[in-house]
């Protein structure tokens, strides 16, 4: 059993009288806290000038996300949550701060509205808004770059990622599936990792906070393994020939496509389960 930190919480209203401490708001807040080390490293790395630039970019992102959350929330009876801040931080850390602000904010709006809000918000949608936003940037403004990660970025991601795995918000099965397939490809093909180093680049960050996003990842045991394996497979597929690229060029389309397929993988797992069940019970 791995639901950690269960603290009792009297609960108003009907059943259940007891609620676990870990509700959506609490989990979202922890998600934001887990993003603080990479944010800090990025701010510290870029020096005073660009650091301010990143802060402005982050503030603008947060404003955009909150605007859309409030607009749709007003219609649907939801209040903006901590996940707005998480989305803004992720986007600010990954998108290129050097782009015209309107381009990035347009991309972010596209992601937040089409991948999240029109489905009813986080938990109802099946795609991560940041992934969709980044994909929009890549397709709509070809040639635009992404943020350059500081050298220690991967290390800063680790504590938060471990906390999220520990809480069960990132599926360990998905990570294992991804790692196994990636290592398997490298072993079989003899290709080398191209692009940035594993710990220096954005790879770990994107896997932990975008692919593993509890709002949109696969939800069955088989689905989780397959989702991880699919991400790895697509990264290999989208890598330029001659290496396996852990940079954005392969990562963003791989995450987008794997995210679209995640519900299908779940559906396959469900169909198999239902068939097995029918044959068992007649």
């Amino acid at each position: 059993m791995n639901l950690r930190f269960d603290i009792l919480q009297p609960h108003a209203g009907r059943l259940p009288h007891l609620r676990s401490f870990w509700r959506v708001e609490q989990l979202s807040l922890v998600g934001v806290i887990c993003l603080l080390p990479p944010l800090w490293v990025s701010l510290a790395d870029q020096g005073a000038d660009q650091g301010t630039g990143l802060a402005i970019f982050l503030a603008a992102s947060l404003g955009v996300v909150l605007f859309w959350q409030a607009l749709f929330g007003f219609a649907q009876g939801r209040l903006p949550g901590w996940d707005a801040l998480a989305t803004a931080i992720c986007f600010a850390l990954l998108a290129d701060g050097g782009l015209p602000l309107w381009q990035s904010m347009l991309a972010l709006s596209f992601g937040v509205v089409l991948a999240e809000q029109i489905f009813g918000g986080r938990g109802f949608s099946f795609l991560n808004p940041v992934v969709v936003g980044l994909a929009f940037l890549e397709f709509a403004f070809p040639g635009t770059g992404f943020a350059v990660a500081p050298a220690t970025f991967g290390w800063a991601v680790l504590p938060g990622a471990l906390v999220l795995i520990w809480l069960g918000l990132i599926s360990a099965r998905m990570l294992l599936g991804l790692a196994l397939v990636l290592i398997g490809f490298i072993q079989i093909s003899g290709l080398n990792l191209a692009g940035p180093d594993l710990l220096a680049g954005h790879f770990l960050f994107a896997i932990a906070f975008l692919a593993g996003d509890a709002g949109s990842a696969a939800a069955t045991r088989f689905g989780r393994w397959a989702h991880g394996a699919l991400i790895a497979g697509l990264i290999v597929l989208f890598s330029p020939s001659g290496g396996i690229d852990l940079g954005f060029a392969a990562l963003v389309p791989a995450l987008l496509l794997a995210g679209i397929f995640a519900p299908l993988l779940d559906m396959i797992a469900i169909k198999i389960y239902v068939l097995k069940r029918r044959s068992r019970h007649g």
Binding site: M1, N2, L3, R4, D6, L8, P10, H11, A12, G13, R14, L15, P16, H17, L18, R19, S20, W22, R23, V24, Q26, L27, G73, Q76, G77, R78, L79, G120, G121, R122, G123, F124, L167, G168, L169, S171, A172, R173, A214, G215, A217, A219, T220, R221, R224, D266, A269, I270, Y273, V274, R277, H281, G282
Partner: protein, 407 residues
């Protein structure tokens, strides 16, 4: 047979009941609650002002007059709620006197259980209804362990009531509804010398190791017509055979952070809790839960199938968020996937797809995944742990009712 349940969660709550058994304060009134009798359309056999004896039929089912619900105590009927579409709320008796109906155990088990009203303690799987008077089951599951937080120590009660327990089990075997599986804790000893139909099975593990849904899954009975009954109702049946009368009291574990002295009480069946618990509740706002903290309900009277009363601190008033708050309550809440949710259901059903199907009202999907094997209590742990705060017990009940109505 022995099974170890690996799934589950051990919720720690202050106020675990001690083994000591005390008589409870007498109650001034007792009630029969409509929600204890799912699927019964009552036809009242008594009216307000009547004097009733312990064991006297109060109402029967309209379609099946053999199925009666009897008075839990003797006294004057002071309140009879009208029967509406969704049933009735309660029938209340002001307690006085000791008048008791005697039952002859010469009849067969089925007739005896129906005459005493103990038949209505059966619940069917699937659907969780009271079985029809002439229905047959493929197996009967007796739940003789309790793994919920603050639960009653069943082994202790079984030891005290050994004679009645044995007679009750033997009577269940006489129903000829397949094997009688007695599901006990890991330390309980099987009784010797009972009919071959009575089989003792032991379960160990954290909650939900003590739920009938878990037992029927491990015994390979899912999807089959099975009846479940609590061990105290089997003891009551044994008491009827032993003494000719229904027992007046049940063993009830009193626990929770707001209990002055958490222990086991012998409480009158259906007793008014405010009377019984007069000196038991610590100062401060309290919420009295009849039944398990996970699947019981806030109540004024002891539920017919309940083995525990939990005294929890009353919840703080929900902060009103005005217009948003009201809208928010009505809307279904999103399910954030946590891997740990998988480990809270003993059945091998894919958990998140089941919860999603229930949350969005996709009953066909929920039933295809196996919701028919479940009752509210089986999902209580998921309602507790799911970040969404959805009450899956209520949603499952809607799904089951729609399905039972359609088939």
């Amino acid at each position: 047979m022995e099974f170890t349940i690996r799934q589950g969660l051990d919720i720690k709550i202050r106020g675990v009941p001690q083994k000591r058994v005390d008589p409870a304060k007498p109650a001034r009134s007792a009630a029969v609650l409509g929600r204890d009798y799912p699927g019964i359309r009552p036809k009242y056999l008594v009216k307000q002002g009547d004097m009733v004896s312990l064991g006297q039929p109060l109402f029967c089912d309209r379609q099946h007059p053999e199925i009666v619900v009897t008075a839990p105590q003797a006294g004057e009927v002071v309140r009879v709620d009208p029967v509406r579409r969704q049933g009735f709320d309660r029938l209340e008796i002001h307690l006085s006197g000791d008048a008791t109906i005697g039952f002859s155990h010469a009849t067969d088990s089925r007739t005896l259980m129906q005459a005493t009203g103990l038949w209505t303690r059966f619940l069917t799987r699937p659907f969780g209804a009271i079985p029809d008077a002439d229905a047959k089951a493929e197996a009967v599951l007796v739940t003789a362990l309790d793994t919920t937080p603050l639960a009653l120590d069943t082994a202790h009660v079984l030891a005290e009531e050994k004679a009645a327990w044995r007679l009750g089990l033997s009577a269940l075997a006489g129903l000829e509804c397949g094997p009688v599986y007695v599901c006990q804790g890991k330390d309980a000893v099987p009784l010797e010398g009972l009919e071959a139909a009575v089989q003792f099975v032991s379960f160990k593990g954290m909650h939900p190791a003590g739920l009938a849904g878990t037992h029927l899954d491990r015994l390979g009975l899912s999807g089959r017509p099975v009846w479940q009954i609590g061990f105290q109702d089997v003891i009551a049946l044994g008491q009827v055979i032993l003494t000719g009368q229904l027992p007046k009291t049940r063993y009830v574990a009193l626990g929770g952070p707001m209990a002055n002295s958490p222990r086991v009480l012998r409480i009158g069946v259906g007793a008014k809790l405010a009377d019984v618990l007069q000196d038991e509740i610590a100062d401060g706002p309290v919420q009295v839960i009849s039944g398990s903290v996970l699947s019981g309900w806030p109540a004024e009277f002891l539920g017919a199938r309940h083995n525990q009363i939990s005294l929890l601190p009353a919840p703080r008033k929900a902060v009103s968020k005005g217009w948003f708050g009201r809208r928010r309550k009505a809307a279904p809440q999103p399910i954030l996937i946590r891997e740990g949710l998988d480990g809270l259901l003993a059945q091998d059903i894919p958990v998140v797809p089941l919860l999603r199907a229930l949350a969005v009202g996709d009953w066909d999907m929920a039933m295809a995944l196996g919701a028919g094997d479940l009752l509210e209590e089986d999902l209580a742990l998921l309602s507790y742990a799911c970040p969404s705060g959805n009450d899956y017990g209520v949603l499952l009940r809607r799904a089951l009712d729609d399905y039972a109505g359609a088939s």
